[in-house]
Every structure is written in C-alpha cells, then in structure tokens.
C-alpha cells in the first residue's frame, strides 16, 4: 500500500526494494510487551504490508544488546530502516503517534 512513507522512498541496497526493518525491544513476556507486539503487528499489516520485517529482542536474554541501540525504556520500537533511525517508546497503543513516529503520517 502506498502511504506517506512513499514521500521519501529509499532503496534498500540489500533487498533492492523498500523494506522496513523494525526492531522491538522487550524485557520478558510481560503484558506490556505482548500488547506492544500485537499493536505493532496490526499497524504494519495495515500500512506496510509485505515490506516490513520485525525483529523481537528480549533484553532479559540478551542484555548486552541494550547498549547498542541505547535502549532505556521498555518497550522500545526502533526503526532501523529506512533511515533516519527512529525510536518509539511505549506499548504502541496510541496508533496515531506510532504512525507519526514511523514517519507514516506527517506531524500535525
């Protein structure tokens, strides 16, 4: 689905097409993290169908990874691609804010 994201299309050199690489940082299977993942999945299906990739990182299992993306808050969604890097914190229940945060909708 062509959305506002098309406003700044970027070639993903690896895949040759616009692929959204998203990483969701959680700490254990808490209700908050489960909710966040569900919300994310829903938004991606709606707006980025077929061109996204979600990676779940459980910091309880890989605590070292917190340093790399400067993770403090949990849950945090990191948009690795397309650049620039974006961080969205919270359980992603505020859909409008998520879309704004992912640059899928312009800031009002």
């Amino acid at each position: 689905m062509k959305t506002k994201a098309a406003a700044k299309p970027r070639r993903n050199s690896k895949h040759g097409k616009d692929i959204w690489e998203l990483r969701l940082y959680v700490a254990g299977q808490t209700p908050k993290s489960i909710l966040a993942f569900a919300n994310l999945k829903k938004i991606c299906e709606e707006h980025l169908k077929g061109k996204y990739h979600i990676e779940m990182v459980d910091l309880l299992q890989n605590p070292r990874l917190a340093k790399g993306d400067q993770i403090i808050a949990i849950p945090t969604l990191v948009r690795k691609l397309p650049p620039p890097l974006k961080k969205i914190i919270g359980d992603l229940s505020n859909k409008e804010r998520v879309l704004v945060g992912l640059d899928l909708r312009p800031r009002i």
Binding site: Y25, A27, K32, A36, N39, L59, L60, P63, R64, A66, K67, Q70, I71, I72, A73, I74, P75, T76, L77, P84, L85, K86, K87, I88, I89, G90, D91, L92, S93, N94, R97, V98, V100, G101
Partner: protein
C-alpha cells in the same frame, strides 16, 4: 570516649559506611558514604559532580577493591576519559582490567516518540548487566536528570526513578546519583525526594574574582556528620576536601627549644628561644622588620642543618635574598645547599584552598623543620579573614603534628589598635612578637615586645629593634620619667645621664679628698697633743722626783738637827 563508643555503636548497629577515598570527605562523614545506599550529589554546572563520581569509583577500584560502574548520561566514555586524565585518573587502564565500566546512555529527544505506557526496564537491564559483568560494588549515575529532558511523561519517570533507587538498594550498590541544582530546591527535578539517605551539596562560587569550591553534607540519615561548608579543590590528584575543624587538638608537643637566630631575643624568651613545633606570630605595621625576624630564624635553622621552606606572598625570592643580605644574612648559601626552599606566589594567583594545597605539597615534598609564611595577611586579598584563619589553623595543625615550627607574619594596618586586629590570629599563635613603630622627636624607631609566649617565662619589656649590617640587634630602651625613649632621643638621654654621672663621680672624689686631708690634719693634731702630753708627763715626773729628793733631804736635815739636839723620837715622826 563517647565519640568512639558512638562510632562503634553505629558500625555495629547497622549503618555501615564505605570509604570514598576522596581526601577529607571520609573524615567529615565519619567514615564515608552509606554502604549499599544511594547518595545524592548535587550542585550547579561546573561544581565538580562528575569528578566526584569518577573519583569515588576510581578510588574504590584502586584502593578498596570495589569495582564500579559509571553510567553517564551527559558525556561519552571517550570524553570522560579525556576529561579526567588531566586529574591523574587513567580510566582506560581500569576499564581494561575490568575494575571500571563506563556506560554512556545517550538519548536524543528528537528520535523518540512516546506511544503509550512504558517503563525503564531497559535501563535496569543495562545497569544490571554492567554491574554483573565486573562484579561492581559502586555505581554512579551522572546525571540521571537528563532523562527528564530526553523522555516525555515525567510522572512515569519519577515512578521509575523511585523504583531504580530501591532496586539499587536491593542490589546493595553504594551509589552516587548526581543532580543539577535547582532554583529553589536542591535538584532541578526534586531527586532529593527519592534519594534521602545522604545528600551532599557542591558549590562553586566566585567572590572578588576568586573562585572557591565548597562542599556541604546536607543530610546523612542515621549518622553524625560535619555540617559546615568545607572548601574543596580539584587539582592533579583529584578532589580534596579540607575538613578544617575535624582535625582535633591531638598533636604531641616537645619541650625542645630552638634559637630565634637573634641572641637577645633568645634571652627574652627565657634564654632559649622558641619551642620546637610551636607557631610564632610576628605582627607589625609596614616596615617594622617582620621579614628580617623571619630571615634570622631561617638562617639559624639552616645553620643547624635543618630544612626550611619560605612562603613569600609579597616579595620574590631574589628580592628577599637581596634585602636580607643588606642586614648581613646570606640566604643564598642555604638555597645552594638545598636547605632552603622558596615558594613565592602572588596571593591572587588562585583561591585560598588552592594555595593551601600547593603549600602542603611543597611541605610534603621538602619536609622542612621550619616554615615561614610571609605575610599571611596578604592572603586575605583572596578570601576573608575568617577563611584565612581557618586555612592557617589547618596548616598549623599539620605543622604541629609534624613538629615543624611555623613562623608567620601579619601586616597590621597602621592606625587602628595593633593588638585588636590580630585577635583572630593570636589565638592560634603560641608565641606572639609585636613589632611596632615608636615615634618620638620626629623619628621613627622600631620596638619589639613579646606579647605572649605560651609555656615559658619571657621578658615583658620593650626592646629597641635595630637593623644593622650584622643583623637584627635588640637593645634596652630608655625608660625614665620622660617615658620610653628610643633612637637618638635615647642616645642623647643616655649621654646626658653619662654627664650627670660624671659630675657625681667628680664630686664624690673631691669630697673624698677633703675628708682625707681633714683626717690627716686631725691626725697631726692628735700627734702634737700626744707629744705635749708626754712632755707634761715628763715634767710632772721630774717635779715628783725633785719633791721626793727635797723631802728626803729635809728629813735628813731634821734628823741631823735632832741628833744634834738629842731629841727623843716623837710619836709623830714614827708614823712617817
């Protein structure tokens, strides 16, 4: 005794402390920071919070075998390493040996969008991981308040911070949390509400263009602590707090005496000079010879082969040497022999604490037996009198515990009372020499008194203080009906007295002669009388003899007549 008991009770009764290793801080907090609890260190920009934290960790890692985690929210590890390298901390070495871990938490507000409920579990995990990886015992969070700028929703942050501090406590971490000073509160975001075990306030203020750093323990739950503001400084050895009042009066004293270098002054001080390890105050108005008294003392010390340090805050070393040469004291030779060290600085170069630190450093490296501070009052250009006094007390306490004799001069403003202005200084001096001008007959002369000298019999007399080309000379002043006379007045008075004395002498001699002549005359008289008497006696004797002869001849004649008349012997004649 009670203090010691209190200490052991506290140690036993739960509140354990962790030594920070920061010079002086452990003294004012009675042993360090509360073990296993967070401590808030707050202060304005540039007040030394970060350095405080770094030193806490570095000392912990190097001196107390307690590894530490430094979580920085402001500076990256590289920046931090570079910044503290100038203070002698090698973070890279400590990091390599796993005794220190620096974690830079960087939050870019523009990158972050808040979309619902969140917590800071990420930070917890990160910190927990860092702690576990090196077995840390100490944690520094510098400055966690920047989270408020980086993350939206302060109410979540507050709840999470409260949880963080509880978590740190549970993990048994001795932590330092730094906070930016707020307008009306200790920290901008009220961190003191969460960290309430120990709060330390750092302050950096500028007075008269000279900056001074101060530290105060605002609160320390469950412990006694020094409540004063303590000056501290940051130099190449790190942070050093000066717990001025915590140095007790515990130094032992000696009754050994050392010469002042001025023989007459020695005799005024009970014949032997100053006590070793005592503090000597030489006060006086400008140009009364304070430095000369000091130079004599240094000279005498060096002659005994003792090392001396001369802190000059007014004159350069070469100036002092030149001036002292004019009164016959060669200080250059002692410098050449390595017995004298000059430490000359303008007082305004830096703050009082920095002066004290640099003085202590020279003392510690040179290890002198005699220390001169000339003049101590010049330091008041960088601090008020109370501070100078506090600094002096600190210096003197240290000197006394090392049995080092300290002579400090103070300049008294002419005009006001000579003694009153020095009250502050006098209590810390064991021996106080007062030099003053005596103005008589259009002349200024110098006088010297001993105002006090603890523990020795000393002269209570004023002496005239002469600067000759062979050094200082003390001579008696003229004290007579016309008051105290010095200088030429004294000399003329003395010559007058000599004249009078001479006249007296002459008179006595004359009278002696007179009496002698009289005596001789009388003796002659006596002799002549005696002769006269002898003559009379001779005469009398002659007369008596003649009479006897006459009587005998009369008797003979009568007998002859009687015989001729054939008289019988009358009863009258038989009696004869």
């Amino acid at each position: 005794m009670t203090m010691a008991k209190e200490k052991t009770r506290l140690l036993r009764g739960g509140l354990q402390k962790v030594r920070t290793g920061i010079e002086g801080l452990d003294e004012i907090t009675n042993g360090g920071l509360p073990k296993g609890r967070p401590t808030l260190v707050c202060g304005g920009a540039g007040s030394g919070k970060t350095l405080f934290g770094v030193e806490f960790l570095v000392r912990g890692a190097t001196q107390y075998n307690e590894p530490g985690v430094f979580m920085s929210f402001e500076e990256s590890a590289e920046e931090l390493t570079k910044n503290v390298a100038s203070l002698g901390f090698d973070l890279n070495r400590l990091t390599a040996s796993k005794r220190l871990l620096v974690d830079y938490v960087h939050i870019e507000r523009s990158e972050i969008e808040e979309t619902g409920e969140y917590d800071l579990e990420g930070l917890f995990i990160r910190l927990g991981n860092a702690i576990d990886s090196i077995g840390a015992k100490r944690v520094v969070l510098d400055t966690i308040e920047s989270l408020f700028a980086g993350l939206p929703n302060p109410s979540v942050l507050r709840a999470e911070l409260r949880r963080l501090f509880r978590w740190l406590k549970k993990k048994g971490m001795t932590a330092i949390i730094t906070g930016e000073r707020g307008d009306n509160s200790l920290t901008r975001h009220g961190l003191e509400e969460y960290v309430s075990d120990c709060v330390i306030l750092l302050d950096h203020r500028v007075a008269n263009q000279i900056s001074t750093r101060r530290l105060r323990v605002v609160k320390y739950r469950g412990s006694i602590h020094g409540t004063n503001e303590f000056p501290f400084l940051i130099d190449e050895r790190g942070l050093a707090v000066m717990p001025i009042t915590s140095l007790g009066l515990k130094h032992t004293v000696t009754s050994q005496r050392i010469s002042t270098g001025i023989p007459r002054l020695d005799s005024m001080l009970g014949g032997k000079g100053y006590f070793r390890g005592s503090s000597i105050l030489v006060s006086g108005t400008a140009g009364t010879g304070k430095t000369s008294v000091a130079a004599h003392f240094v000279d005498a010390a060096c002659r005994r082969g003792e090392r001396s340090v001369f802190f000059a805050f007014e004159e350069s070393p070469s100036q002092v040497i030149r001036n002292m040469r004019s009164i016959g004291i060669d200080l250059q030779q002692w410098m050449g022999k390595g017995l004298l060290h000059f430490h000359a600085e303008r007082p305004t170069v830096y703050g009082l604490e920095a002066h004290l630190a640099s003085m202590e450093k020279s003392i510690n490296t040179f290890k002198p037996k005699v220390v001169i501070v000339d003049p101590v009052t010049n330091l008041s250009s960088v601090a008020n009198e109370a501070d100078v006094k506090a600094m002096l007390i600190r210096l003197l306490d240290q000197m006394k515990s090392n049995q080092t004799t300290t002579l400090f001069t103070t300049l008294t403003a002419s005009g006001g009372s000579l003694e009153l202005t020095e009250v502050g200084m006098s209590s810390i001096a064991d021996t106080w020499l007062l030099l003053r001008d005596i103005e008589i007959g259009g002349e200024r002369n110098r006088g010297l008194y001993i105002l006090k000298s603890r523990g020795m019999a000393h002269s209570n007399q004023i002496r005239e203080f002469l600067l000759t080309n062979k050094g200082v000379d003390l001579i008696d002043v003229y004290v007579g009906p016309s008051g105290v006379l010095t200088g030429s007045a004294r000399i003329s008075q003395e010559s007058q007295e000599r004249d009078i004395e001479m006249v007296h002498q002459k008179e006595i001699e004359r009278r002696k002669l007179n009496v002698e002549t009289k005596r001789k005359a009388l003796e002659a008289q006596i002799a002549s009388l005696h002769a006269q008497f002898q003559a009379e006696e001779q005469e009398l004797k002659k007369l008596t003899e003649q009479e006897t002869m006459r009587q005998r001849s009369v008797l003979k004649l009568q007998e002859k007549i009687a015989r001729m008349r054939k008289e019988d012997q009358s009863s009258e004649r038989r009696k004869r």
